[in-house]
């Protein structure tokens, strides 16, 4: 999904750059409320984690593999505003250090993979949680839905950008079919892995999942009486 240099024309690149810059500026302000300042190292850690998880290729079939985008996952783990910052940093470092994604296409890449996936993922996560019982176990299915939809929507936005400022003369139908088709598959993988990751983190450290905070607050302390052990001999008595 990384857009290279020269793929979209200049006005489109500048416009997406402006969108990305605005999103990052707003996120910088809002992220302060999400995290206190001692958590900057931990935010960097989440960015490194998303980076590493993007290396975790999973087989799609026919010899190809896709990688996670991680936007929905980051949003659920650290909250949407911080997630936008994390994704921005991941893409910036990928562009500058690893030559992955063009430097002039950085705005496009941040908009598609850093903003769209986070916004869609977070919105759907919150929406899905409304329909699920308020308990920590609900986070995993909600994460599944969020991640599943976030990837094809990002692909769809790419097709939209392509329609406006693509430099190659391919029929929109073909771009649409290829991008959205593949990304529905990748979205399935992303959804499975996001849900299982969120599930396994919640099982061990539920306090680390930002999106699950309301669920944990709703959990009540229950007193369970010890049940008398039933052994074979007791049953006859």
């Amino acid at each position: 999904m990384h857009v290279p240099d020269g793929f979209l024309d200049a006005p489109t690149s500048i416009a997406t750059g402006a969108v990305a810059a605005t999103a990052v500026a707003v996120s910088l302000r809002r992220a302060r409320r999400e995290l206190d300042d001692k958590t900057a190292p931990l935010t960097g850690l989440v960015a490194a984690f998303v980076f590493a998880v993007q290396m975790l290729n999973f087989p799609v079939g026919a010899g190809t593999s896709g990688h996670l985008l991680g936007g929905a996952l980051a949003a659920i783990l650290v909250g949407p505003w911080t997630a936008v910052l994390c994704m921005t940093v991941v893409l910036l470092v990928q562009g500058l250090f690893f030559a992955d994604g063009g430097i002039t296409a950085l705005g496009t890449n941040i908009t598609l993979m850093g903003v769209v996936t986070v916004v869609v993922g977070w919105a759907l996560f919150r929406l899905t949680l409304r329909f699920l019982p308020r308990r920590p176990a609900s986070a995993a299915p909600a994460a599944f839905v969020a991640a599943l939809v976030s990837v094809p929507v990002a692909a769809l936005c790419f097709v939209g950008l392509y329609a406006v400022g693509g430099t190659a003369d391919i029929s929109l139908k073909a771009v649409f079919a290829a991008m959205v088709g593949w990304h529905v598959l990748i979205g399935l993988g992303e959804a499975a892995i996001t849900a299982l990751t969120v599930g396994s983190v919640i099982a061990v450290r539920p306090d680390l999942v930002h999106g699950a905070r309301p669920l944990i607050a709703a959990r009540e302390l229950t007193v369970r009486k010890p049940r008398p052990l039933v052994t074979k001999g007791d049953r006859s008595a």
């Binding site: 190292p41 931990l42 935010t43 960097g44 984690f49 999973f58 500058l96 250090f97 003369d169 073909a174």
Partner: protein
């Protein structure tokens, strides 16, 4: 960190390019790539000129061509896409070696391939000649918001730790006979991701406490405050200025 405090993308050296301040090199690279992208695709000679410029930088920086070639592998998805373009694009067809290829598709393929390759080689040269810490300090000098610089700093700092952990987990999975094939392997990969997150987080907590105990107060120490020497700006300006001449020439003839 197993690999010391530099990354494998960095090529240790003492060339003139290595010694230039990181923020100057960043500005030069971004200007260069902007000019390359703005060049009309019909000006073949201009792209040849850009390539010569980058090769000259590589020669001055003493970056071996083999190193560049190995790193260009990241571009593979773009190359695959570019190869497909002439087949799927619309428009009038031309006959190339018995295949009916789309004319505009061939142009687009050339356009994407040339511009993306020049951009990729430029970034590789920057990463090869600049220490990552210097690059981050350079971003700070270019007024990138402090929060972003901090996140990037910690990300780069932890990246080797996390990928090392990921590698050990992969070996451990393989040692137990795990062979990722198809959907059934996804739960295992996901559990790996979850475990990786918790382990990294708890490690980060320990690192953070250790940093606080050594006096960390929310920002990395600034090592040098002095003004950038004019000579440095003049030296980095050579690349974008040559590129500007080429770009103007290309627009003139287009």
């Amino acid at each position: 960190m197993a690999s010391g405090h530099t990354h494998l993308l960095h090529l240790h050296g003492y060339s003139p390019v290595h010694r230039l301040p990181a923020h100057c090199k960043l500005v030069a690279l971004v200007t260069f790539v902007l000019l390359v992208v703005a060049t009309p695709r019909t000006a073949f000679w201009a792209f040849a000129g850009y390539a010569v410029l980058l090769l000259a930088v590589a020669a001055v920086a003493r970056v071996p061509l083999g190193f560049l070639a190995r790193r260009v592998v990241v571009e593979t998805p773009v190359i695959v896409f570019a190869v497909l373009l002439p087949f799927i694009a619309q428009g009038p067809r031309v006959d190339v070696a018995g295949l009916a290829l789309s004319q505009s598709g061939l142009w687009s393929a050339w356009n994407v391939l040339a511009k993306a390759t020049l951009g990729v080689v430029g970034s590789i040269l920057l990463a090869a000649t600049t220490d990552q810490r210097d690059l981050l300090a350079g971003l700070q000098r270019l007024r990138l918001p402090n929060q972003l610089v901090q996140i990037a700093t910690f990300m780069v700092r932890y990246l080797d730790v996390i990928t090392g952990q990921l590698g050990r987990m992969r070996i451990a999975r393989a040692a137990r006979g795990f062979d990722p094939r198809g959907i059934r392997s996804w739960p295992v990969l996901a559990r790996s991701a979850g475990t990786l997150f918790i382990r990294s987080y708890e490690r980060g907590e320990r690192v953070h406490l250790a940093m606080l105990s050594r006096g960390y107060a929310g920002a990395l120490p600034v090592l040098s405050e002095e003004r950038t020497p004019r000579a440095a700006w003049a030296a980095v300006a050579v690349l974008p200025l040559c590129a500007l001449l080429l770009a103007v020439g290309a627009w003139w003839t287009a």
